[in-house]
């Protein structure tokens, strides 16, 4: 398969889907089309073993107890994986969804922390997702901690960061050391590029593997059922993210 046989979004969806293996219930928050696509692909590949709730969706959201139910559900241990992003993410996996510069009069103000300060502690497998990989987004230290990556030993914490995926690469988070480790670099990119574009230090093995491309079965699902499902919540994304070409 040539690199042009799949789109950047399709590569990311396939990579995120691999991180969700074995999950019984994956929840996807607001403004997350690629994680949403990955969760729906994971469900399709699981043969029905995985449940998915997509916030903002009517068809892919089975909650009936209002906005609080996702948080209660997570507190009960019934959400295995969730996605968080950040305007800034730092080397200790702290995320900032609030803004840059001094608080409260932020230079650039973002939306806000949403459920991050809570779900980061309650959901076992939190996958950080940020397409833009630059020294602007991946910083040494965030300007505002919406949710901390690690906690003191006496703080009750079931969950936390598992991985960080960007347009360039996939990092795993080492909870004991409190830092990221480079797992794989996406096809067409290099370790040097990752080093150059990352504002925090991270561990890496001597030989960094390439992120595996999506296989033909995953591509066929993405371009068929998944594209139609994701269009309900993200019509703009569904119209542009999937390659129209042959799948082989």
């Amino acid at each position: 398969m040539s690199p042009a046989a799949y789109s950047r979004q399709e590569l990311l969806i396939a990579a995120v889907t691999r991180l969700l293996e074995g999950c019984r219930h994956v929840a996807v928050g607001a403004s997350s089309p690629i994680p949403g696509g990955a969760a729906l692909l994971g469900r399709a590949l699981s043969g029905g073993a995985m449940r998915v709730s997509v916030l903002g969706s009517t068809r892919n959201n089975f909650f009936t107890n209002g906005g609080v139910e996702l948080f209660d559900c997570a507190a009960q241990g019934r959400v295995d994986a969730f996605f968080l992003s950040g305007g800034q993410i730092d080397g200790q996996a702290n995320i900032n969804l609030v803004g840059t510069g001094p608080y409260p009069r932020s230079d650039v103000r973002w939306s806000g922390s949403f459920g991050s300060a809570y779900l980061y502690f309650l959901v076992p497998r939190v996958i950080l997702f940020r397409e833009e990989h630059s020294r602007r987004t991946l910083v040494e230290k965030v300007d505002f901690i919406s949710a901390p990556g690690v906690s003191a030993l006496n703080v009750w914490r079931r969950g936390g960061p598992q991985a960080l995926i960007t347009n360039l690469c996939l990092f795993a988070f080492d909870k004991a050391k409190g830092c990221f480790r480079l797992e794989s670099v996406h096809p067409g990119h290099t370790v040097e590029e990752v080093l150059d574009q990352t504002g925090f230090t991270f561990d890496r093995p001597g030989n960094v593997p390439e992120t595996p491309p999506p296989d033909a079965a995953a591509l066929a699902l993405m371009r068929g059922a998944i594209r139609a499902e994701i269009a309900e919540t993200y019509p703009r994304f569904a119209a542009t993210a999937f390659a129209a070409g042959e799948t082989a």
Binding site: T64, V68, V98, R109, F114, A152
Partner: protein
């Protein structure tokens, strides 16, 4: 006998006083945009907006129109259209008192109010700058732990809104309001002193008579006023009953980047020159 039915949206909005602590729902839940227009038209001031748990167009317009002095929210977002331009501008100008929160904390504060207890506790939040910036949120030791100090937990004070304002599909003539699965609207009504609701339609049947609607209905006991407002969430969606008006939302985000653009949008929205898509036109 109590008659919750109000003659107009303007009469309903007139019951929200300046300085009120006003609870409003997220865009997915049912936002009373027609009533918000009336609130802006009457020149409301000094509102303390409690977003349950986030807001978008409604908060951004109220902020831009100078109606809000304090905002308590887990986020301001217009979804695929971006963040609220007037919110960001007000933050930068320092003209808004910010109470940044996280979604479950806002739900918990309202739940404390509906139970009549002073606070609720929640896991998580510890070590965040949200907590550091909220002197009204306290860290206590779990009193049931062997060593309470070894199990810190965040205590969130009850949130008592003066008014809850939202939009729903149906009410009946007694003032019972059908909210389906949007249970946060029920919590808001329980917690607020005054609950004001706009609905697509007031129906003649009794919504409590049938179990299929009763379970998703706020009893009139909690409802202070209802006004009919067809397409009352426009330009936002009402659940999956009608879609958001993407053209108007995109135009808003573009216009609201500048003071002049926002002022022009506001003027056209207030005097009715701003026309919606099929949903809004069908309602006229």
């Amino acid at each position: 006998m109590n008659d919750p039915l109000m003659p107009s949206v303007a009469a309903l909005a007139a019951r929200i006083p300046d300085g009120a602590k006003l609870a409003v729902p997220a865009d997915y839940s049912g936002v009373a945009m027609a009533a918000t227009r009336a609130l802006v038209a009457r020149g409301a001031r000094d509102l303390h907006l409690v977003c349950v748990p986030v807001s978008g167009l409604q908060a951004d317009i109220l902020i831009g129109a100078g109606c809000v002095s304090t905002i308590e929210t887990a986020g301001i977002t217009l979804g695929e259209y971006g963040t609220g331009p007037r919110f960001a501008q007000a933050v930068k100008a320092g003209s808004l008192r910010l109470l940044d929160a996280t979604c479950p904390a806002l739900h918990a504060g309202l739940q404390a109010a509906e139970k009549g207890i002073p606070f609720m506790v929640l896991r998580g939040i510890l070590g965040s700058d949200i907590l550091a910036r909220r002197p009204d949120w306290l860290v206590i030791g779990n009193p049931f732990a062997a060593e309470p100090a070894d199990d810190p937990i965040v205590a969130l004070p009850a949130i008592h809104p003066d008014v809850a304002l939202f939009h729903a599909p149906l009410a009946d003539r007694a003032g019972n309001v059908w909210i389906g699965r949007r249970r946060e609207l029920m919590t808001m009504a329980h917690a607020a002193t005054l609950t004001l609701v706009t609905v697509e339609q007031v129906v003649d049947k009794d919504l409590l008579a049938d179990d299929a609607t009763a379970a998703g209905t706020i009893p009139a006991l909690y409802v202070s006023g209802v006004a009919e407002a067809p397409a009352g969430a426009w330009p936002l969606n009402l659940w999956d009953r009608y879609e958001a008006d993407g053209v108007t939302l995109a135009a808003y985000v573009q216009a609201a980047r500048s003071d002049a653009g926002f002022a022009d949008f506001l003027a056209r929205w207030l005097d009715g020159r701003l026309k919606g898509g099929a949903v809004a036109q069908a309602a006229e």
